[in-house]
């Protein structure tokens, strides 16, 4: 049995905000099945007594004094925007018509 179904991949694509064609989904479902089969090996040694490592350094949160430092001007910050309006990022509608 496949580790992951085509429907599950379609749901993941929706969660990841990537439109996918039927062809892309068919192809990816097959590949994901093979890859998941290979990476599932980690479970062989991941016993309950092993602590997880999320990061190579044992760093704590880094803070600094709350002082104003040089930063981007509004026009620099907007320089790569696909669309702008009155010095702001212009985005497609977020709320529906109704």
């Amino acid at each position: 049995m496949a580790a992951i179904s085509r429907d599950e991949v379609a749901n993941l694509a929706r969660l990841a905000r990537i439109t996918m064609s039927d062809d892309e989904l068919d192809h990816l479902a097959g590949e994901m099945d093979v890859i998941l089969g290979a990476v599932a090996r980690v479970q062989e040694v991941a016993s309950a007594d092993v602590a997880p490592t999320s990061h190579p350094l044992a760093v704590n949160n880094v803070t600094r004094e709350d002082v104003v430092l040089p930063s981007l001007t509004p026009s620099e910050a907007l320089s790569g925007a696909p669309a702008t309006d009155e010095g702001r990022f212009k985005v497609p509608q977020i709320l529906g018509e109704e």
């Binding site: 996918m20 890859i35 090996r41 980690v42 040694v45 602590a51 190579p56």
Partner: protein, 499 residues
């Protein structure tokens, strides 16, 4: 002075005013014009900016100002690093035409050091790949054989060095993207200790693994570049606030007498090309001749490193790449005034991301989803602990660890592009270093008998002991050079029009 000289030779000639930075920069653009149509190492050339930088360095030198050691020496910058006003694509369509409004810390340091940035180099999209075939702008070709891959993800940087288009380059290494390209092109590359070089302005792929580092044609040149870009940066919260080890002195020392060098049992055997293993073993024998002591060490959990990596890196990438949402910068597709932001986001990411990036985002989204988190991402994090423990135990028995950098020499373009798992196996020997956040170097150790292509020798050193890999690498390089009689790149066939 020729573009085939090493960076340190160029630096000395500049210092003695035998050549100006402008002349040296122009020589490199001539070489690029002659060979890059075949190699395709560069995505963008900033000739105007580079010549202005070079002129400024020449003026300072003429005025008798004290300059840093690499002032006036040209460099190729991987296209994953931001440089103010210069297109930064990460090899992706989603960032086509984007000009970042700020410099990465690495670029700031390079500019302050007077290093001349020639242009941006090709890479696998968002640094995901081992062949540079995943670039949205077409593959880079290996200067040793144009039908073969230059490694990845930093294949543009390694190819630029091997084709004498630049004597220095910047790479980034998440699972081997500096070291494996160095291995398959006969060049040198170093992944510094995690936190040793600032990640500010490095477009993130997998934040707990990503590390920028230096690439060059010799160990000393690599050390000089390392010195120029390393050090604490308050703009990177994971930057290490400690003195940078003296890697330049280490590269010059050429003395490994009494050092203990561990050969990792698990990074050999099945899957490793015979010619690769032979050249690796010959290099180990050279180290013995130089007075080093060889210890065999066992790192049993390394065999799980690849599997853990292909859960951790995609998980972090699925989160990091969420920022490419078409709202504030980059590509936007389907904005017809009717479609919602979410629909536009979906269409933009479909059009803007390539196959490998989508594959990893989906894999990471799966590994992080509730119900699967513990079994996949959680287990991979535990393997990460076990790998760190293997390294810790090994470093109680030896000063550095060594292995082949990559299991094979450069393969043919197209050979593995439809088999993601086969492609992932290229990273089998480089990944453990990233998982533990320690340092790793690759330097050339010969040509494989089967195909006459370069083989990489990997040296791994404990965190913040980066000087050790330069010490061993420098000594080995000198021994091999006297054995070969000339640098390894002089064995490569000459490209049409090349100097």
């Amino acid at each position: 002075m020729s573009v085939r000289d090493n960076a340190s030779v160029m630096a000395a000639a500049l210092n003695k005013k035998e050549i100006s930075a402008v002349e040296l920069t122009n020589q490199h653009y001539e070489q690029i014009a002659a060979v890059d149509k075949d190699v395709h190492a560069f995505l963008y050339l900033d000739k105007e900016g580079a010549l202005a930088q070079a002129e400024a360095v020449d003026k300072k030198r003429a005025a008798g100002e004290k300059l840093s050691p690499l002032a006036g020496v040209p460099l190729a910058l991987k296209d994953v690093m931001t440089q103010k006003g210069i297109p930064t694509t990460c090899g992706s369509k989603i960032l086509e035409g984007w000009r970042p409004p700020y410099d990465s810390t690495v670029v700031t340091k390079l500019k302050n050091a007077g290093v001349i940035i020639l242009g941006k180099t090709n890479m696998d999209e968002f640094a995901m790949g081992s062949s540079t075939e995943n670039s949205a702008y077409g593959p880079t070709h290996n200067p040793w054989d144009l039908t073969r891959i230059p490694g990845g993800s930093g294949g543009g940087s390694s190819a630029a060095l091997a084709a004498f288009e630049a004597p220095l380059a910047i790479g980034t290494d998440t699972g081997g993207s500096i070291r494996q390209p160095a291995a398959v092109t006969g060049t040198v590359g170093v992944k510094p200790t995690y936190g040793g070089v600032s990640r500010y302005g490095l477009v993130a792929f997998s934040s707990s693994l990503d590390q920028a580092g230096p690439c060059a044609r010799t160990v000393l040149d690599t050390a000089l570049l390392h010195q120029a870009i390393a050090g604490y940066d308050n703009k990177d919260s994971t930057s290490i606030n400690q003195a940078v080890p003296d890697v330049v002195a280490a590269a010059k020392k050429l003395d490994v007498k009494g050092m203990k060098i561990g050969v990792v049992k698990q990074l050999a055997g099945d899957g490793y090309q015979k010619g690769v293993e032979d050249k690796f073993n010959e290099a180990v024998a050279e180290l013995v001749k130089l007075g080093a002591e060889i210890v065999e060490v066992s790192c049993p959990n390394f065999e799980y490193a690849l599997a853990a990596y292909y859960l951790i890196a995609p998980s972090e990438c699925s989160s990091n790449l969420a920022r490419f949402d078409s709202m504030r910068f980059g590509l936007r597709v389907g904005d017809d005034g009717v479609k919602s932001a979410e629909e536009v986001m979906n269409l933009t990411r479909q059009a803007g991301f390539g196959r490998e990036v989508k594959r990893r985002i989906i894999l990471g989204t799966y590994a992080l989803s509730s119900g699967y988190y513990d079994a996949y991402y959680g287990s991979a994090q535990k393997v990460r602990t076990l790998i760190k423990q293997d390294f810790d135990a090994a470093f109680t028995k030896c000063d550095v660890l060594v292995s082949p950098t990559a299991p094979t020499t450069a393969f043919k373009i197209g050979e593995k592009s439809n088999d993601p798992l086969a492609m992932y196996l290229n990273d089998i020997a480089t990944i453990p270093v990233n998982m533990a956040g320690i340092g790793g170097m690759s330097l050339p150790c010969g040509l494989a008998a089967e195909d006459n292509l370069p083989v990489g020798f990997q040296i791994m050193s404990p965190a913040m002991k980066d000087d050790r890999m330069y010490l061993v690498g420098g000594a080995l390089e000198a021994a091999l050079l006297s054995k070969w009689g000339k640098p390894i790149l002089d064995f490569a066939p000459k490209l049409a029009g090349s100097k």
